[in-house]
Amino acid sequence: MKKSISLMMLLVMVLSLSACNTEQGNVSGSGNEKQTQEEQVQEKVEERTLTILVEAGSPGEIVANDTKSEFEEMYPGVTVVVDPVPYTGIFDKISTEIKSGNIVHDIATLDVLWLSAFKSGIEPLNDYISDDMIADFLPTMLDGGTIENDILGMPMWINSKVLMYRTSLFENEDNKAAFKESFGYELGVPTTWEEYMDVASFFTDKDNNFFGTAVYGANNGDTVCSWLDHASQAGAGPLVLEGNKVLLDDPAYAEAIDFMKKQFDEGYVPADSLSNSSGEVINYFNNGQLAMMLNWSHFYPSAKETLDGDVSVAPMIGGSAGVGATTGPWYEVVLKDSPNKDLAIEYLKFMYERNGNYMEAALKIAGRTSVYEEYSKIEGNEHLQAVLDTLGSPASGNRPNTPYWTEIEQVLSDAIHFAMAGELTAEEAMKDAKERIEGIIK
């Protein structure tokens, strides 16, 4: 009796487990026995689901949702699923999918920083991108998306930091006179490091919690990007790495830190600058506490609206090597092991044709020169010309294409943060960072 009960229990368990595993197979196998193999294939083709990973709240999500029905109409039977996740979640998800081989998303929207880390799992697009398309890529876009001659991503948008300032302060006659008296030349929108420091010094009024500008000092990637802006202006390039050679002994890197640190030490920036990055800086600017700032161009429209139009924009400032900025392109990529690769590539082409939609979305930025030029003629989009001018400068470029960038960025972020806090000199910080980065890439 006991034996029978035991056997029955075992049987129930085994059956329930096998039912779980073969549920899918049973539905198609038993229910549609008369269906021919051809019909089944047709059904499979028609009922495909294209899953796209996007950053939640980004233009990527907005445009993917806006264009979803149009693509579905063009490809009947195809369902587009837009999967929005936070910024860091994109890296984590794709990293896990590629490592495990369990591909859930067909397409992902990626920051340029991640391309090299995921190279082995991304489908090269060289055969699908024409020369005409490449000719319309914005400067640095092709370079950023290409690794070992493989074009890994279709441009979505590119951005750079530009100079934004309070128009009324710069046009005020009293300010102009006082500035000329103090510095011996006319008050104008700064184009060099020296002018930038003079203007920052002039407008700073600490007692009233008003500052000439802001500097990035938080221990994160935003600070690294800002420091690389200044390093490129000081003549650094290629940035940080050349192959396996770490370039941090180039004086331009230490000069960039000193430039940032001087603003902090002199008090031209808010006292809590060591915890500030782009989000905090735009808050200060929109609160009316800054005369100018270097920040991502996409903040311009909202700043102008918040400050009742009292905001103007200019290209990034220049150092001894001229205007320079580190760019922040985003790409759409197809995962190599996606079961819907052909459809995913069609989707990328479809989205490239609709690149202008990104201009209509939240950030007012895009990835094609023609789109930038077209939209820069519209009032309120003055930042686009500033970006074009900044990107066009020979000193502007991408961060290095290396799968170790996330780890390297943490090392650099620590180094800049500690140097700005005065715990190390700029040279010591760069020397220490160089050794640590060599340890990472060896």
Binding site: M9, M13, T96, K119, N209, D272, S275, E407
Partner: protein, 292 residues
């Protein structure tokens, strides 16, 4: 005569055992193997490196600094939580008007997810608009409106901020456990002690604490393990300044793609906790030693 045979018992045990083997034993075994390899960041091919990952863990700041931070975090967070939790439990064990309402309100942090608590505290500690600095200004610790403490931009202060958030989140748990223990003490003993004229501290150290010693140790051991594996609060609140073991393992594996090194760190962490738990539990629960 047994009601259920040994075989039937084994069958009941089997699903759980299979589950444990698949999702606990196998991953740990796989992790142990991975810890002896280095993985190519492009191809994921592995190269046997022997004990290199372990040697690196015990000689490199990338593991030792988070380890030190973890010890500091655990020591201060659990100590403070125990003291405040016990103090609140001693107050609330005496029924007074409104005590039930206060007890319910004090329990509210328990209903908040650690990740939400971390994000909220991050805003509260914001050096520009955070309420903590504003309170310090209101009470005169910060003299001028422009004075500020950059809580989240300094390694030491960031760790303090994270400990404060953890204490806020977990004191209710300690209070609840201690309160349950105190309420279970035989009232006859307490009344007898009162008649004998024991003072407050004698009552505390010679009657109440010995009576709930096992409960205190259980609560502390749960919190020690819980605090040591804390991830959410640290990651969302102070990750830019402070790394602890759990966050560094996560970043090394997911962000830096160093599977071998992350596996070695994780295995060291697991072994440490298994040993700790065994020693702690062995000393705690020995029926021969008596206790409540």
């Amino acid at each position: 005569m047994r009601i259920v045979s040994r075989k039937t018992l084994l069958l009941f045990f089997l699903p759980g055992a299979i589950f444990m083997a698949m999702f606990l034993i196998y991953p740990i075994f796989k992790m142990a193997i991975d810890s002896f390899y280095k993985f190519d960041v492009y191809t994921n091919e592995k190269l046997f490196v022997g004990l290199d990952n372990y040697i690196k863990a015990f000689t490199d700041g990338s593991f030792l600094i988070p380890l030190k931070n973890t010890f500091i975090y655990v020591f201060f967070a659990v100590s403070i939580e125990t003291i405040i939790g016990m103090a609140l439990a001693l107050i609330l064990v005496n029924e007074f008007r409104g005590s039930k309402l206060i007890r319910s309100l004090l329990l509210s942090p328990l209903m908040i997810a650690p990740i939400i608590a971390g994000l909220t505290w991050r805003l509260m500690f914001n050096s520009n608009f955070g309420i903590i600095n504003q309170i310090l200004r209101n009470v005169g610790i910060l003299k001028k409106a422009t004075d500020t403490i950059t809580w989240l931009a300094d390694k030491e202060l960031a760790l303090v901020a994270a400990i404060i958030a953890d204490v806020w989140l977990t004191v209710p748990f300690m209070m609840l456990v201690f309160l349950a223990g105190l309420q279970s003490i035989d009232k006859g003993i307490l009344e007898a002690a009162k008649i004998d004229g024991v003072n407050f501290f004698e009552n505390l150290f010679y009657i109440k604490f010995p009576a709930i010693k096992q409960i205190i140790l259980t609560a502390i051991s749960i919190r020690l393990i819980d605090a040591a594996r804390t991830f959410d609060i640290i990651y969302v609140m102070v990750d830019e300044q402070v790394t602890v073991i759990s966050t560094v393992i996560y970043k090394t594996l997911v962000k830096y793609n160093r599977t071998g090194y992350a596996s070695a760190m994780a295995l060291i962490f697991i072994i440490f906790f298994v040993v700790f738990t065994l020693v702690f539990l062995r000393n705690m629960w020995r029926p021969s030693k008596g206790g409540s």
